[in-house]
Symmetry: C2
Subunit: 344 residues, 2 copies
DNA sequence: CTGAAAGCGCTAACAC
DNA sequence: GTGTTAGCGCTTTCAG
């Protein structure tokens, strides 16, 4: 008793973490029994188990996962790479990824690449070093060095939020081009004739814009639609600025397709501030179906992407792989839907 | 050449990661030289360095950080615990934490505790296992088991977004009680006499509400102000629902203090939908000064917390500790300001 | 059910 | 400037 508390105080003052051997000594057992008590309690006799757990509790011991992971080569860690934490666009995906992994005993680690290829490579290196059980990429990996490292590492990889004919490994996404094209067709069918675009600075947003333009040409509209390029990350302020700019530059605009709901909210507020009736004088279509979209006044028409499904699917792909199962359908297009509400 | 590519293919097909020894063999040097080439290139002769790096490049080799970290006991990793990724309240903090750490070669790992003490303990365990160089907590740690483990691990800890007389280690925060009291005094001074509260479900929000109530009593207002408790996470929809509920339950409300800007946006939209003039008929004060607050119409009056400073300070505390420096001022109250705009 | 030995992949410490 | 040896803390494997 006194010996223990003495040990504890000494240890704390040194800021030295305990090891299984310390715990073993204090509990009068071998290191192996400590390890088993923590990882396979059913394989240890109740008496020893109680002794060990009591010492663990008293000392606040937490085993060193680097050592365990090194030996067992299972980190119980999944890494996700996001362009940004600021935009709420990926929240649903992250949320469900986290939940699903957590339910299976995996921890999620999030890294921010900042829409920048060299930062992404550095981040990827830091991630691969930790030998996670899987890596979830937001968007597809373009850098040749990154692809090579990912391939060489043998770590399961899921690319998301996009499609490519040449995925590194597994893929759960949708066609950004198609989204743009569908949004354009939707506006045409609703009777709008002079759409403009407010488009984020990232590559996926630009492919959506390209799809929109392509469809506009197919429909026989003028070759170049007015576009406002908003710097990443997409903000409400950019949306307001974007509409002001478009209105000043082009005449007769009757609809705006925004590459995020936050931009769309900015457009809505700017329109209201200018006394433009939505959707009579200006239609607005957003993207993301963020939490607030349905609660706006008027409610926002937007492109919905099932982020929850992306996250769940990615998590299951990785868990299945980690447990040695084969993935039946490692490439899936989950599509999207246009949620028709009041703004378009 | 053929030998290399043969090796490469073989290796890939086995999905077996390379080790420093593989690279050493392929480059015709010792494992130590590979390690040095990667970590201290200046200590290796240019000729060998080039040889090694070429093999590393060809193979896509990334060293195993668990092994390195185990040996050198520096993980170059900092972990942060957030209640939720959904609310945008902590984004500024995370953003600056990430940036500052990144600039110093540390990686940030984010875990989500979900406003739940037992989840928080499990997450903490997973984090301590990885022996990060520091842990940033959002809010203060209450669980005795968690405190003990943190203390025993010897890992530098920074608690944030709150104050406590008994921090585990370092602290950078502000008084939630004071925020509530100041918001109340502010409204009183602006001539409002019948305020209500919309308050998130987490503990910090409730302490803000308590501070508000305390000040209301000091000012001689009625004992119990009307309160709407919004479930976490705070959403725009909760804000709308909250105002509707308050208006139905209490009469004469002329101001609302919300525990997040997102709730405040909901209140604003609900007020506009009901034709209530803001701030003439209803004043609104938010919290967070999120990106959109200044761009709303009318612009939102809100309590600003310098999240960037919290993140930077926390990062520097941890980096300094990791490099063995003592922290001069390990507990700091960064305060808050009320940003006076158009809604109150 | 429990323990002893060996080794995961890397790098600190020490030779040369 | 380069190589050799040893060991970080844990868990797999094998013996008792």
């Amino acid at each position: 008793m006194t010996e223990w508390s003495g040990f504890l105080v000494h240890n704390l003052s040194m800021s030295q973490a305990f090891t299984v051997h310390d715990i073993a000594r204090l509990a009068g057992v071998s290191a192996m029994t400590v390890s088993r008590a923590l990882n396979h309690p059913e394989r240890v006799s109740p008496a020893l188990l109680a002794q060990v757990l009591e010492v663990v509790r008293r000392t606040g011991f937490v085993p060193n996962g680097m050592a365990g992971g090194l030996r067992s080569s299972r980190a119980r860690l999944v890494a996700a790479v996001l362009p940004t934490l600021v935009g709420p666009v990926f929240q649903e995906t992250i949320q469900s990824l986290n939940q699903t992994l957590d339910a299976h005993g995996y921890q999620l680690m999030i890294g921010q690449s900042g829409y920048n290829e060299s930062r992404e490579d550095a981040l990827l290196d830091a991630i691969i070093r930790r030998r996670p059980d899987g890596i979830v990429l937001t968007g597809i990996m373009h850098s040749a060095a990154g692809r090579r490292q990912l391939l060489a590492s043998g770590i399961p990889v899921v690319e998301t939020w996009d499609l490519t004919p040449t995925p590194i490994d597994m893929l759960v996404g949708f066609s950004n081009e198609e989204i743009g094209a569908s949004a354009c067709a939707y506006l045409q069918q609703r009777g709008y004739r002079r759409p403009a675009l407010i488009c984020g600075g990232d590559e996926r947003a630009q492919r959506r814009a390209a799809g929109f333009q392509r469809m506009a040409r197919t429909l026989g509209w003028e070759a170049e639609l007015p576009v406002y390029l908003a710097p990443a990350p997409a903000t409400l302020a950019s949306g307001r600025a974007g509409l002001s700019d478009l209105l000043a530059r082009a005449s007769g605009i009757d609809a705006v397709f925004c590459s995020s709901d936050m931009l769309a909210l900015g457009v809505l507020i700017e329109a209201q501030a200018r006394g433009l009736a939505v959707p009579q004088q200006l239609a607005i279509v957003g993207l993301g179906d963020l939490e607030f979209a349905a609660s706006l006044q008027p409610a926002l028409t937007t492109v919905r992407i099932d982020g929850t499904r992306i996250g769940q699917t990615a998590a299951h792909y990785i868990i299945d792989r980690a447990e040695g199962h084969a993935i039946a359908q490692p490439i899936v297009d989950i599509g999207f839907t246009i949620v028709e509400r009041a703004t378009a």
